[in-house]
Symmetry: none
């Protein structure tokens, strides 16, 4: 494979849990045009994409006439259309190239401001991507609006999307909830700008990259939508924040960047990073990750006897356990879930938390017995 130009395999691949045989493009920065470089990667090889595309349209003189003459809205409209057309074509091109290298259940995050994010979002939808959330990064220390003509632009927008409506992306819900003091993570992220020691400066003290993103932002994206060992692509790598955080969190990365200065800065930056130890990268897991225990196991293991009586938490509903693992409540029989739903008149029910055993006056959910089985299995 000749994905990389000479001298561009900038960062030595670091050890990761998997895959064992790393392709040579892994944990490197590919120099060159975004689309051309992406076309050299294999299809469906990337778990997560973070993209911070350029959005300098309208900020330069593109829309001014050379003579600065005043134009009415109609003429102006044509100029804008031309410019937006070009930006749209660029956006479609890199999004299509990115789409090809994404795994079917992968995620893509794109960040932008009001100058470009609406075009990016609409094109994502037009290309068949399925938006999961939009997220707002609220800057605690934004640049004030000096002229007092607008609201202080204190946020940027991030779109999280999958390749299709039916995709089942990684989403570490429990890890994020734990991270957030046991509350669901919301779509508003309050994070400071990238400043201070984190901001890369050149020898003259000038910032190396105009829009270096804070590592905290990438930390959260990678924690949400990837697992250790996953491959994270950043098609506009810049000074390598994505790669730095990926390495810190034990993910693999691959970047694309055109400017050699940025590649150099990113390379040394990432080399200085140490991957966290294996155990510290484990994520908080929820019940969904646990092995399924059929209710019948409680009988097989002797934790429940056939004929045992179960009740709801308040003792209003009673049912008898039968030897085959079904419940009998009046004339109705079925699984713990079905009978639980029936007695409540609900369409569904989690029998594990609904039904309880009694010891004296206290009741405990049969989920405790399931946990006992799991403990035995682990030991």
């Amino acid at each position: 494979m000749s994905v990389m130009r000479k001298g561009v395999s900038a960062v030595a691949p670091h050890p990761t849990p998997e895959p064992a045989g790393n392709p040579e493009w892994l944990n490197t920065i590919m120099k060159g045009d975004c689309v051309a470089a992406l076309n050299k990667l294999p299809s469906k090889s990337v778990d997560l994409v973070f993209a911070d595309p350029p959005y300098n349209l309208q900020l330069g003189g593109d829309l001014h006439r050379p003579d600065h003459s005043k134009v009415d809205a109609c003429d102006d409209h044509w100029d804008q259309f031309e410019s937006f057309e070009a930006y749209d074509a660029f956006t479609r091109a890199w999004l299509m190239a990115t789409r090809r290298v994404m795994k079917d259940d992968g995620s893509i995050y794109v960040i932008g401001s009001y100058h470009n994010i609406f075009r990016v979002g609409a094109i994502l939808q037009d290309l068949g991507f399925w938006i999961m959330n939009d997220i707002v990064w609220l800057k605690s220390n934004p640049m004030p609006n000096f002229r007092g003509k607008r609201f202080t632009n204190a946020h940027e927008t991030i779109i999280w999307a999958t390749k299709s409506k039916t995709a089942k992306p990684t989403f570490n819900y429990d890890a994020l909830k734990t991270f957030n003091d046991d509350l669901q993570m919301r779509s508003d992220w309050h994070l400071p700008l990238c400043t201070g020691g984190e901001r890369l400066k050149d020898d003259d003290g000038q910032k190396v990259h105009p829009t270096q993103k804070p590592e905290a932002l990438l930390y959260r994206v990678l924690t949400a939508s990837s697992q250790p060992g996953d491959v994270v692509l950043d098609p506009f790598f810049g000074t390598g924040t994505t790669g730095a955080v990926a390495k810190k969190l034990g993910r693999n990365f691959v970047g694309v960047e055109r400017e050699q200065d940025y590649i150099d800065a990113a390379t040394s930056r990432i080399e200085a990073i140490e991957t966290g130890s294996g155990a510290s990268l484990d994520m908080q897991k929820g019940k969904r990750a646990e092995k399924r225990i059929p209710f019948g196991n409680l009988l097989e293991s002797g934790l429940l006897e056939p004929g045992a009586e179960l009740s709801c938490s308040k003792g209003h509903h009673l049912a008898v356990v039968r030897a085959d693992g079904s419940l009998k409540c009046g004339d109705f029989t079925g699984s713990i879930h079905k009978v639980g739903a029936m007695v409540q008149g609900a369409s569904s029910c989690n029998g594990w938390t609904f039904w309880h055993t009694s010891k004296g006056r206290s009741r405990s959910p049969i989920d405790d017995l399931r946990e006992e089985i799991r403990t035995r299995l682990r030991s």
Copy 2:
């Protein structure tokens, strides 16, 4: 002029500073299709537009809360579109009709969610509108994500645009700054949902409109981008929040609405309002309360590294920090609070004061690190 159908001039025009001779459509609700109604208004007659168009939510089946109650979703027919193309055509049509009736220096605000706002924003740009800001309405009390599959959708986006790049829109910078405790008004607005007494209910106690917006939101829009006596258009009038706030603030309004039920509700609502009663109205101020800092922020910001060891104040209990912000203590994992409670055998625990970092022989609570983050956020 025959803008209004009989019986539709629903709200008696109220006295306003100007214009002296009010056109008959002023301070009325026009019944019918948005574009057809707008085409009956004179060109360049409107100072400010607030539009809350259909979001084109594409909902699947029913959604239930964990307690099995059913979510009362917005599944009204007016929110259904066959395709993005159909939604785009609809959006272009009402935006072009709106553009004609806007004064050249007027402003338009459009609110939406990720389902539609990217299409609206791109079409605004395509039609020659000039985006001044995008604003995020952060909901203090959003509906949670019940299935744990996405981030809590805790915000909506508002686009503020003018008819052209050269427009000079009204922007009451100083008034907003005063409202905001002498700080520049930012692009993030923290406001609660429209609930409680403000929410219009019918005789059965059911909400009249599925998406009634809070008056505080409109209060802020009108305060920012209009003057007393200005004309404010809402092409999707609904139950008349825009009209209600306009009357309170001494602005004129004109609304368009198709559903008679909404018109009736809006009419009586607005009739009950007195102009200038807003003297006692205080704009919802940006909350200066101390922000909650989730434990995960310490990792994102680099104040703690994955793998770091924490202890209780006396060093009896030890735990390891994992990359996702969970603690690991033996086989037990969870948030700093849960693990703290577990090791003490307590039902709850303030992890911030219980867990300590060590430097040499001295220990300091991780609360100190949280204070460090707060300091950074304040800077």
